[in-house]
């Protein structure tokens, strides 16, 4: 569906995407994970054929975006990071007009609008203007709108950023259904739970480069341990305790309020900690998540 080879995007001196290789297969959900400014959105814009690559090759649906932009875009659905709904139109008109941009007939867009409003649970608001809708409704409408041309490939740039938990779960459910119906999903996110829920495969980007690649499970196996033991001590500085824990875990990470011990067996490690005569205030053994991988790979310093 998408094949990128040494794909690069530069804005003047700044390199937003630095020679990445990506292969997205039909029917899968593929994720770009990374902190803000990692180059996810620039990559998505290139895949969406609205930003020409500076270097490297890019094929989408077997076509070249430089020459077949309109033909490719006709088969894509795009959910941008910021909602770009048409606030001068009603909810229903947003879908109708968007369908017309794809050259669909009035009869086609009318039928499609009914179907999509139901899919997005917006049937009751069909005649309402867009402005007063809640964030979740706007997001659902943006997704509904992007499906008007029955896209083979759906690009979602941070689909659930800024939504409350209920709205996120409704959206995830809709995205699952799309995937089941055979739509290929490419999404960016910085929510680890989202990536674990939705993505079959993903790449972690940092500073315009791909730093890791695989299924969520593979990434955890490769870049973290099976479990993580979180320890809190009654002290402002946890660093001295880390020194006393050497040898108990594959890796110990010191955070301001706790220690993270990367280990394959959290309970056994906890027992070993007690065995060394240490008495943490709280002990939590949990499974390793994509978040541990992510923070390990991209660091904890704020990059904005």
């Amino acid at each position: 569906m998408v094949g990128a080879h040494r794909l690069t995007k530069r804005f003047g001196e700044f390199t937003a995407v630095d020679a990445i290789d990506v292969e997205v297969r039909r029917g899968e959900a593929f994720g770009f994970l990374g902190p803000n400014g990692a180059g996810k959105s620039s990559t998505m814009r290139m895949i969406g054929c609205v930003s020409p690559p500076t270097e490297g090759s890019l094929r989408i649906l077997g076509l070249d975006p430089a020459t077949d932009g309109p033909a490719i875009r006709a088969r894509l659905g795009v959910v941008p990071q910021r909602d770009t709904l048409d606030e001068e139109l009603t909810v229903r008109e947003n879908i109708l007009v968007y369908g017309r941009y794809f050259g669909l007939s009035r009869a086609q867009v009318n039928a499609k609008a009914d179907e999509l409003l139901e899919f997005a649970q917006l049937g009751e608001r069909a005649g309402s203007v867009v402005e007063p809708l809640s964030g979740g409704m706007k997001r659902r409408l943006t997704i509904a709108r992007s499906l008007v041309n029955d896209p083979e490939l759906l690009l979602l740039d941070e689909p659930t950023t800024g939504l409350d938990p209920q709205a996120r779960h409704v959206l995830w459910d809709r995205l699952f259904r799309l995937k089941r119906s055979g739509v290929t999903l490419v999404l960016t996110t910085h929510y680890m739970d989202e990536a674990e829920q939705l993505c079959d495969r993903l790449v972690v980007m940092d500073g315009g480069r791909i730093v890791a690649e695989g299924s969520p499970r593979e990434l955890i196996a490769l870049h973290s341990t099976r479990e993580v033991l979180e320890l809190r001590f009654a002290a402002d500085d946890h660093a001295p305790y880390a020194a006393k824990l050497t040898g108990l875990a594959d890796r110990v990470e010191v955070l301001p309020d706790r220690l993270l011990l990367y280990t394959d067996d959290g309970d056994a490690t906890a027992a070993a900690v007690h065995g060394r005569g240490l008495a943490p205030l709280s002990v939590l053994a949990r499974r390793s998540t994509l978040e541990d991988v992510f923070l390990h790979l991209t660091g904890r310093t704020l990059v904005d």
Binding site: F11, G48, V50, S51, P52, G69, P70, A71, R73, A74, L76, V78, P80, R82, T84, L85, D86, E87, E88, L89, E93, V97, Y98, R100, Y101, F102, G103, V129, N149
Partner: protein, 269 residues
């Protein structure tokens, strides 16, 4: 519109899918929700016509419309109001409205994610400006004719002529808009329009000016628009009118190509 499309396709300008009409349809739908703006566009030139043409005209009497032919002042000034209204409407649509869509509504971000390209955006927006302008100029012509200010059937051609003025100004206005940074910058546009409106042989003949500065007036686009429509409404049609047509047509097409390129550079980075 298909003519505009055909010409656009022949020129080396940014890609499009030939779906500009979809954007026109979008604007028509949005317009239905805000039809009040229609009213001001229809009445503004008429207010000018009656205050200047009829009111001031009573004090002025007849004026020389060129070649020693004397006409009532109202009949003299009406074509100028029609031309100026075509200019103002086109500029308003292609500057204020476009700037809002570009910077705030981010309309084209979603439009360009569909098969539509920058050329479709330029052609679609300008076509819409022309359609709206045509509505205004038709209303104006009907009122002017009813008030006895039109003396020739040539005046019917003033409608496409007004659209040509619209094309020229909308295309250039759109290009200029892509350079604007904030609402303050719109003062520059007013600074260009106001003197054109006042001095382009709109309210008095070109012969009023000293020979040494006539060329300056004749270099401005509104002068050609006013002269063209005045020739048609007064029925004074000669081959010379083609010079006005050519001036405005070139301005419109060059502006259109340039506007599409600018939209491409601005949005498809």
């Amino acid at each position: 519109m298909s003519a505009v499309n055909a010409i656009a396709r022949a020129l080396p300008i940014p890609a499009g899918a030939g779906l500009a009409r979809a954007l026109v349809e979008r604007n028509a739908r949005a317009f239905r929700h805000g039809w009040v703006t229609l009213v001001s566009g229809v009445f503004e030139p008429m207010f000018y016509l009656f205050s200047l043409g009829v009111g001031l005209g009573a004090l002025i009497g007849d004026v020389d419309a060129g070649g020693g032919r004397m006409v009532e002042y109202a009949a003299y000034v009406a074509p100028a109001m029609m031309a100026a209204a075509a200019m103002n409407g086109a500029v308003y649509d292609s500057t204020f409205n476009l700037f809002f869509k570009l910077k705030y509504a981010r309309l084209y971000d979603s439009v360009l994610a569909t098969p539509l390209g920058p050329r479709d955006v330029a052609v679609g927006e300008i076509t819409w400006a022309l359609l709206r302008g045509l509505l205004y100029s038709t209303a104006f012509l009907v009122v002017a004719a009813a008030a006895g200010m039109v003396s020739s059937w040539w005046a019917v051609l003033a409608l496409p002529a007004a659209s040509l003025i619209g094309l020229a100004f909308a295309a250039v206005g759109m290009s200029v808009t892509t350079y604007l940074r904030s609402w303050q910058d719109f003062d520059y546009i007013q600074l260009a329009l106001m003197p054109m409106f006042l001095f382009s042989a709109t309210f008095y003949p070109l012969s009023t000016y000293d020979e040494s500065i006539r060329w300056l007036v004749q270099a401005t686009p509104l002068y050609h628009g006013v002269a063209m429509i005045r020739d048609l409404m007064l029925g004074d049609v000669a081959w010379g009118i083609l010079a006005h047509v050519a001036y405005l047509a070139v301005m419109g097409l060059v502006g259109l190509v340039f506007a599409a390129r600018r939209i491409e550079r601005l949005l498809l980075r």
